[in-house]
Structure formats: C-alpha cells, structure tokens
Amino acid sequence: MDVSMKRNFRLGPFDGAKFEATQVSWMSTVEDLGLPPLEYEKTISWVESHIQYDVKNGDSYAYGIFQNERDDAVAIVDIVHSTRVRDAGLIKMLEVTMGPALAPSKITTESYAELLGIYSEAIVGTIALTAEAHPARIVKLFGRDDDLMKLFVALNVQLNAQTDAPIKSKLEGRWLVISSN
C-alpha cells in the first residue's frame, strides 16, 4: 500500500456551492449504486445545519474532505471546538462519515488505500484547524465503537513509535489524545 501518497485530499469548510455540489453528488451516487438513501440524506441534512462556522455555541461544525479542487466532499467530519479547558482549548474530532462511493460494500483494493488516505486527512486537517480557525492545544479523536477503538490502539502505538515525530498520543477512555511532542 502506498503510504507516501500525496496529500490530495484536504479538509475544509463548506460554502453554499460546496454544500450543493456534495448534496447532488452523494444523492446521485446513492442512486447509481443502489444504496439505501436514508443515512446519507440525514447526513447531508445535518451538514446543512452545521456550517455556520462563526457561531460558537459548543455545537458541532461540519467540515468536508475534498479531493484536489473538487467542490463535492468525499467525507464529512464532525468537529467540536471547546474553549472551556482552563489553560487552552481543545478540538474534538467526533466522527468521520465517508460518502456513498466509499460504502463498505463498494470498497476495492484501490479505494481501501483511498479510505486510509481520507481518514489520515481527517486527522491532519483537524490538527491544521488549530492553527487558525479553531486555536487549540490538543486534538481528541472519539472512538465511537470497539472497531474504531482497536484502530486507535494500533494508531497510538504507531504514533509513539516515531521518535522524531512532532506529535505524540495517548489513550484516555474512548479518546485518542494527540498533542505536540
């Protein structure tokens, strides 16, 4: 598997055009692939109500992961920025929802590598948000189920095995906490 693949996905905010492009693309793909539309419709609806990035009420923000210059997102990232911590903020990545083209039944060898690249970008892009849009000291990833927790355990080992890496991590309950090294 090509670990050195270029960073050809980017996490970023939605604007009206990107939201509309994502809505059209996802619903079209759902229909083409014969997937059940309900979860994707709910996700798109959720995105529409969580892209007011200037509202700071502790609720989630919906960010997209976009391939190169495309307007339609390949995945949705649910992010919460907390500023309640005493000495610094923290940013939580709660969920990464892959688009219908990456539905489990449609994954191939090639798209499996793409899936990992997109998930990598979800983490990297969330960290990048701390530099401007959501200043924070640490990033926390939520492990919503046992499968994701198993991946977090392995990811925690790998992150800390890189002695020259600029970041380190630790597990705290269902959270993988990433901070600077």
Binding site: M1, V3, M5, R7, E39, Y40, K42, T43, W46, S60, A62, I76, D78, V80, D87, A88, K92, L94, V96, T97, M98, A103, P104, I107, Y112, L116, G117, Y119, S120, I123, V124, I127, T130, P135, A136, R137, I138, V139, F142, R144, D145, D147, L148, L151, A154, L155, V157, Q158, L159, A161, Q162, A165, P166, I167, R174, W175, I178, S179, S180, N181
Partner: protein, 60 residues
C-alpha cells in the same frame, strides 16, 4: 502563578506541517497494516449517523 509551558499542537503544525502530515499518514497506514482489513473497514466506513455522534459527544 505562571501559566504552564507547552508547545501547542497548533505551533507544531505551523512549525512543520509536512512532517506532521507524514507522521500521521504513516501511522494510520502502519496501524491499518497490523489489523485485518475487514476490521479496519468496519472502523472507518460504517454508515453510522452523525446524529448519534452528537448524542455521544454531549455524554462525553
């Protein structure tokens, strides 16, 4: 009392975004290689609704 000293992750990103990107990407792929593909697929591509995640977030 002095504020705690630390290098924030934001500073780490600003100092070297490429290094940080490579560190995360390498770790994700290496972690996936230690697990069965089916297990990674279940972890990353379930169609769980973000509504549920919001509920879990409030409980966390």
């Amino acid at each position: 009392m002095n504020a705690p000293t630390y290098i924030s992750i934001a500073a780490a990103w600003k100092a070297s975004p490429e290094r940080l990107d490579i560190a995360v990407r390498s770790a994700v792929f290496a972690a996936a290689n230690t697990l069965e593909r089916a297990q990674v697929l279940r972890a990353l591509s379930s169609a769980k609704s973000v509504y549920s995640a919001s509920v879990e977030k409030k409980a966390a």
